[in-house]
Subunit: 345 residues, 2 copies
């Protein structure tokens, strides 16, 4: 098998190239079939590549500028050229790489990806995904922030994209799809959700539609794909992160509150190690802005090397899948139903 190439924004993320290159090193221990095009400042990247013995698998492209983590998307767009993030996306656009990864500024990455890669034919609004740890493994939640809202047609479009994405990433033949709502009955909730639900219940969208799911169903893994608008999805994702952090802190306090507790925790260490693995956000790192002509994976800005490696693996998995062809086919099927007249551009 000839190696695939991934395009890497080597400068993005809270910790910069150190974590990026260490993450590539971890990934390379698992996979020998991937090469990298690294975008950024050679004087910072080269020594790290030598240190991690990765020089032979990497090409560096010089970009002097870095998008700051706090820059507004509009301002980042104006100064895009010359940045490592823009260079990373350009390599994907030119076909030099099959997919890209950045741990940089999310808003800037979405804006630049939209501008450079453009929307796939049939897509009205791209949607950002999150992988969500559940009782059953992992689920996809989308949109988690690419848009502020979504009408019924856009929710159906998100469902089509999310379903193809789940198949590519989880390898499930027929992922189940649920619409996030505040009740399980058909007549509950805002109009956009009710209309989207009716479309997926009654029309031949090709989607295995479960029905409505509520907030507590996400972590229980009731469906493989949870569809919602970008505002609600973002609030839900961050609320879950906050809750997990609170509970983890309680656990740590409980197991270090006394000498006896500490001794108990030491005895229970193998179980607690499992727990840490399960609660480790690195294991589900990686979001994708679905619906563009090209795959760019967003790694969490604060991800460690292990988390970064997870995001790189996601990019490689997507590059090896038929995800884009499937989205395209799914959108054609939905558009033939004639249910999206008001949003056709």
């Amino acid at each position: 098998m000839s190696p695939i190439s991934l395009s890497i924004d080597a400068m993005g993320g809270d910790a910069g190239p150190e974590v990026v290159v260490e993450g590539l090193g971890l990934f390379c221990k698992q996979r020998a079939d991937v090469d990298f095009i690294l975008h950024g400042q050679p004087e910072r990247i080269e020594p790290l590549l030598r240190q991690h013995k990765l020089s032979h698998r990497c090409t560096i492209i010089d970009h002097p500028d870095v998008v700051s983590m706090s820059a507004k998307p509009s301002s980042a767009l104006r100064k895009a050229r010359g940045t490592s993030m823009w260079g990373m996306i350009e390599s994907v656009k030119q076909g030099d790489a099959v997919a890209g990864v950045s741990a940089g500024n999310t808003g800037a990455l979405m804006a630049m990806s939209m501008l450079a890669l453009r929307k796939m034919p049939g897509v009205h609004r791209p949607a950002m995904t999150a992988l969500w740890p559940t009782l059953e493994g992992r689920s996809v939640v989308l949109d988690v922030g690419a848009n502020l809202d979504a009408d019924a047609d856009q929710l159906v479009e998100f469902a089509v994209m999310g379903e193809a994405y789940a198949r590519a990433v989880f390898g499930i033949e027929r992922p189940t799809v649920g619409l996030l709502n505040i009740g399980a009955e058909d007549e509950k909730g805002p109009d956009a959700i009710k209309f989207a639900g009716e479309i997926m219940r009654t029309r031949d969208t090709g989607i295995d539609f479960y029905g409505y799911v509520e907030g507590n169903d996400i972590s229980m893994g009731v469906v493989d794909v949870v569809v919602t608008d970008g505002f609600t999805g973002n609030v839900a994702l961050k609320t879950a992160e906050g809750t997990a952090r609170l509970v983890s802190r309680y656990v740590r306090e409980a197991l270090t509150s006394s000498l006896l507790s500490k001794a108990g925790a030491a005895l229970a260490s193998s179980g607690i190690r499992d727990l840490r693995t399960k609660l480790n956000p690195s294991s589900v790192n990686g979001g994708v802005l679905l619906g563009l002509n090209g795959v760019v994976v967003k790694s969490h800005g604060g991800a460690d090397a292990e988390g970064y490696a997870t995001a790189v693996k996601l990019a490689a998995d997507l590059a090896n899948s038929h995800y884009m062809e499937e989205v395209s086919a799914g959108l054609k099927r939905v558009s033939r139903l004639g249910i999206t007249p008001e949003t056709v551009e």
Copy 2:
């Protein structure tokens, strides 16, 4: 101090009068200054009162019917008379009790409370509260489901009501208020939130406005009161419940995964007991539909006796506070600002 009277829907909740009366028993061990009017089926209630030695503090009013947990609000309203829930609310309305408690069907309880108690002068839309466990203690989140959406004026109204409620329940002089959004910067988010933020930042609403908070800030206890629309609040609340349940299950598995883990857990038992207390949903049980002429507390349908006692304590605390006068004063202050012309009825 002469005793206060609370009105109790003795039949509501997944487990019915057994849990309700046991909960009253637990509450009475802490407080001697409260009497109860119990609404429901005497033949089921009386033996329980005798068993828990509560007969001398309770009056029973006979209502043959029970609102089923799955009834739709509209159908429950049509058949309201004769139910224990309706009777409970009537006692509050007539002034026979200073506040009421039900663990029954939430939608029916909101609909009946609105109909019987009516909105306070100046309130356009009542809002449902939840108490949320945080790193700092507890916060109030509203609206968690009384409405599907909220415009800017309604969000400000929720802030006024939530602030007075937090003062009554937490005893904080100046509770801080945050608007739930998907970014911290002033220009982020949907228009309704931006307008509400601007009103609270620039006008003399009397509110200690913190600014925007994100989902992860809720559990961190960044503010005392989190204001949001009913759809988002309900999703956030249930998402947090699901996440806490998932993490708790991981913890249980980790501490019972091997003999060694079990031994460790036994050694660490005091810490783990603290953890259970902190994760116990009973400790924050109780929601209130704010903005009505009377206080009705909603206990979780699945709450145990301890949780029910917590909800009863919330009702007693609110009855002893100046919460309704404060809401009234706050709404007058806001209405004088002339910012709510489009929603004045």
